[in-house]
Amino acid sequence: MNERAKGLSRQQMCDRLAMEFGDGWIVNLGIGIPTLCSNCDFGDREIIFHSENGVIGYGPLAASGKEDMHLVNAGGQHVTLRPGAAIVHHADSFALIRSGRIDVTVLGAYEVAENGDFANWKTAGQQGGGIGGAMDLAACAKHVFVAMEHQTRNGAPRLVERTAIPATARGVVNLVVTNYGLFAVTPQGLELKEIAPGVTVEEIKTATGCNLIAHGEIPPVRRAR
């Protein structure tokens, strides 16, 4: 749905972020694009997926007809459990989050600022919002990665100087993948690390709402072997 013709597919975006997961990491995936990270090939790395509703060690989506009505992930999808999985209640699930046990959370976003602020719970002018576990996760996970389209449907940039809509957390984002490439939040600002096939640095700069650091020749987005 709404897959951009240009650059990386949503699965390719998640494949690239998943290459950054270390062996043994506890990974929490937000709803939307990030859920595709659970489809990635991790080779011989062991990855433990945690879901905010208290599921530790879930596996692929349940096959049709094999759904367990008592078991869903944060997005309400019926998942399976891997050997060694454990279940806790919500307070323990967020104790695990707040105490820094989550190595990385991958979240969707409406906007990411060059200083690592990001916004994903409320659109402009919206009444109320959907925070879910995003504020707890963003404030407390060891790493915060964002997967999002580079621009809005109307062509406005999502990578910006300052978020225009209410922030989820300040200064927490480390890495962003969009259909145009991979970006790191550095003390100097937002840096283009890798570029998607068929996209130029100039195109990315035009589609980006903040200064973009781009040193020398930018390598193409790496692919898992």
């Binding site: 599921v55 009505m69 008592h70 078991l71 209640h89 699930s93 109320g128 925070i131 707890d136």
Partner: protein
């Protein structure tokens, strides 16, 4: 001789926490009560108790829940918080979601909040869980890093511990908890299954009166091994066995889901 002690939850002895109907189990809810409804998506959601509270008709309620709508496996036309909102029973909601997560979704709550008929307090999910855990643990308030630097923290007390800023959050006690469990014994000891646990044990701890809809036949005392009890009967006051469909409400896969 000691006078018999009044049990929290309306004079039932420890031996008879079983109620014959959902209606009877929620009969005494007064106007203005603070009620927690457990569940995450539809798993562990007390669908039958939503229906009972909607039929009971108490008004001016403050309802605490992760969200005000179910998910894809909520049967069509089944009770939920939306029904209570449409009944005019709800004064305030305290939730981690007060807007739909997709642009295509509609939330009954939204139009009532827009008209100023309902107050919606939006709380980060971990803070929501911990506020109820604190209430159930005798802790009046705590500090958390969640929501620091956001609109939710504006004008509120923060404090620096170490090098980090934390936000003060208050315990959230409940008058009633409405929850769903997989198994219960007559003493109210509960077991949940898979992700059904979610907010349910925490709401039971936070509440003065905990009402449970139970999926399996209610077991005799002692049938659940003490090591396997997730919520001890101390926190549980009223249990009702869910009848099979169509009399009782059970989650179901949407008709469009290929099987």
């Amino acid at each position: 001789m000691m006078a018999p002690k009044q049990q929290a939850g309306g004079g039932m002895s420890a031996r008879s926490k079983i109620f014959a109907s959902f209606a009877e189990a929620v009969r005494d809810i007064p106007d203005g009560a603070v009620i927690g409804f457990g569940g995450f998506a539809v798993v562990g959601m007390p669908i039958n108790l939503y229906g009972a509270v909607a039929a009971q008709g108490a008004k001016g309620l403050t309802c605490v829940s992760n969200s005000t709508r179910g998910g894809a496996t909520l049967p069509p036309d089944s009770p939920d918080m939306g029904q209570m909102i449409q009944n005019g029973q709800v004064k305030k909601v305290v939730c981690a979601f007060t807007a739909p997560t997709r642009a295509s979704q509609r939330l009954v709550l939204s139009e009532y909040v827009a008209k100023g008929l309902i107050e919606a307090e939006l709380v980060p999910q971990g803070t929501l869980a911990e506020r109820m855990r604190a209430a159930g643990a005798g802790i009046p308030a705590f500090y958390t890093p969640a929501a620091v630097g956001t609109e939710l923290a504006e004008g509120r007390e923060t404090r620096v511990f170490g090098a980090r800023e934390y936000l003060l959050e208050h315990a959230l006690p409940l008058d009633y908890a409405m929850i769903r469990a997989y198994q219960a014994d007559e003493a109210g000891n509960l077991r949940f299954r898979r992700s059904q646990r979610n907010f349910n044990p925490i709401m039971a701890m936070a509440a003065r009166v905990t009402v449970v809809e139970v999926e399996e036949d209610i077991l005799p005392v002692g049938a659940i091994d003490p090591d396997d009890v997730h919520t001890p009967g101390i926190f549980v006051h009223r249990i009702v066995k869910i009848p099979p469909p169509p009399e009782g409400w059970w989650p179901q896969l949407p008709a469009s889901t290929p099987r």
